[in-house]
């Protein structure tokens, strides 16, 4: 194998992985100039970011990637719901929510699959 062939995956990593990803962070640095911590703009921007995050969550659960797709949809949605219930039930323990959600997913997959 030539040197070029060996290095090609790393060149691709820089060009189509690092650059299109990092550009948004750097644009964020520019856009945040002059924005005050307690401004109304921040509340709106945080709402937008939170809504996108919710979108990422529900898209992974419904349109699951890779091995997660082998678990029935009902088990994925049920596990998500149980995770939230556990979080609230254990007075705001994120760990309880995450552990319950993952356990429920495995149990659900075994029962429904």
């Amino acid at each position: 194998m030539t040197l070029v062939q060996e290095l090609w995956p790393y060149v691709l990593l820089m060009l189509v992985g690092f650059l299109p990803n990092e550009v948004w962070r750097m644009l964020g640095v520019l856009a945040s100039r002059g924005v005050e911590e307690d401004s109304e703009l921040i509340v709106w921007v945080r709402s937008v970011a939170t809504a996108i995050l919710a979108g990422v969550v529900i898209k992974i659960v419904i349109f699951a990637p890779g091995a997660l797709a082998s678990v029935p949809l009902a088990a994925r949605l049920g596990a998500m719901g149980l995770g939230v219930v556990a979080y609230l039930g254990f007075r705001g323990s994120v760990f309880a929510g995450v552990a319950t959600g993952c356990t429920a997913l495995v149990v659900g997959a075994l029962l429904l699959g």
Partner: protein, 235 residues
């Protein structure tokens, strides 16, 4: 508080953060994915250091590994990474001081990913302003180091991991993001944005709307903010 003391506080916070465990599981699954698609362990580690965003890395590995055109891969990665912009804009004003240089904000900005963003939003207000950039760098350094090591572990364990176990690891991302976002939602605007986003995103996807996550953010975030303002005005 000095910057170094902030960094130490960040390392301590990362050690007890539930996200450290979430990152271990998630990056074991990403390492295994990289192995299955024929990348080297070094390549996977570099992608973690340079990209540092789980969903973007999954897209990068699966698309490049299945021979997609580089331009198509760049577009898909870029679209998934758009959400980083509002995260950076919402966090940096909490970190900087009037005399902060742009240069000192580049590393904290690079460390921003969903996990680190939620921890930093929650913890930064509890630390004096001088220590906040150090705090964020401490959390980020820990998270990214754990991610690189877990990626190696996943890469070398790939052939021995049961499918259901990998499924549970992949489930760590959505469940931890959701529960932490609920914890972080102090204002009505945050709670509504979360609820509306959960409903709107799958609808836009099912109807085949392009840039569905971008629209989810703009529609869900703006509607949530408007209702929050309306309620404040009425009180």
């Amino acid at each position: 508080m000095s910057s170094a003391a902030g960094f130490v506080a960040g390392v301590k916070a990362a050690r007890t953060s539930v996200f450290t465990y979430v990152i271990i599981g998630t990056y074991i699954s990403i390492g295994a994915l990289g192995h299955d698609y024929g990348f080297s362990a070094l390549w996977v580690a570099l992608s973690t250091l340079l990209v540092w965003a789980g969903p973007a890395q999954v897209i990068l590995i699966t698309l490049l590994g299945s021979g997609a055109a580089p331009l198509e891969v760049a577009l898909a990665v870029g679209l998934s990474a758009m959400r980083l912009l509002p995260m950076v804009v919402a966090l940096l004003p909490l970190l900087k001081r009037p005399d902060s240089r742009v240069r000192s904000l580049l590393l904290p900005a690079h460390f921003i990913a969903a996990s680190m963003w939620m921890e930093a939003l929650r913890l930064a207000p509890r630390v004096p302003r001088e220590g906040r950039i150090g705090l964020v760098n401490g959390i980020g350094t820990c998270f990214i180091s754990v991610a690189v090591l877990s990626g190696f572990a996943g890469f070398y364990l790939a052939e021995r991991l049961p499918v259901l176990f990998v499924a549970a690891l992949l489930f760590l991302t959505p469940i931890s993001f959701l529960v932490s976002a609920i914890r972080n939602a102090r204002l009505l605007a945050d709670r509504l944005a979360l609820a509306i986003g959960l409903v709107v995103a799958p609808m836009l996807t099912i109807y085949g709307i392009n840039l569905d996550l971008l629209w989810t953010g703009l529609i869900g975030g703006s509607a949530a903010y408007a209702i929050h303002r309306l309620r404040e005005a009425m009180q």
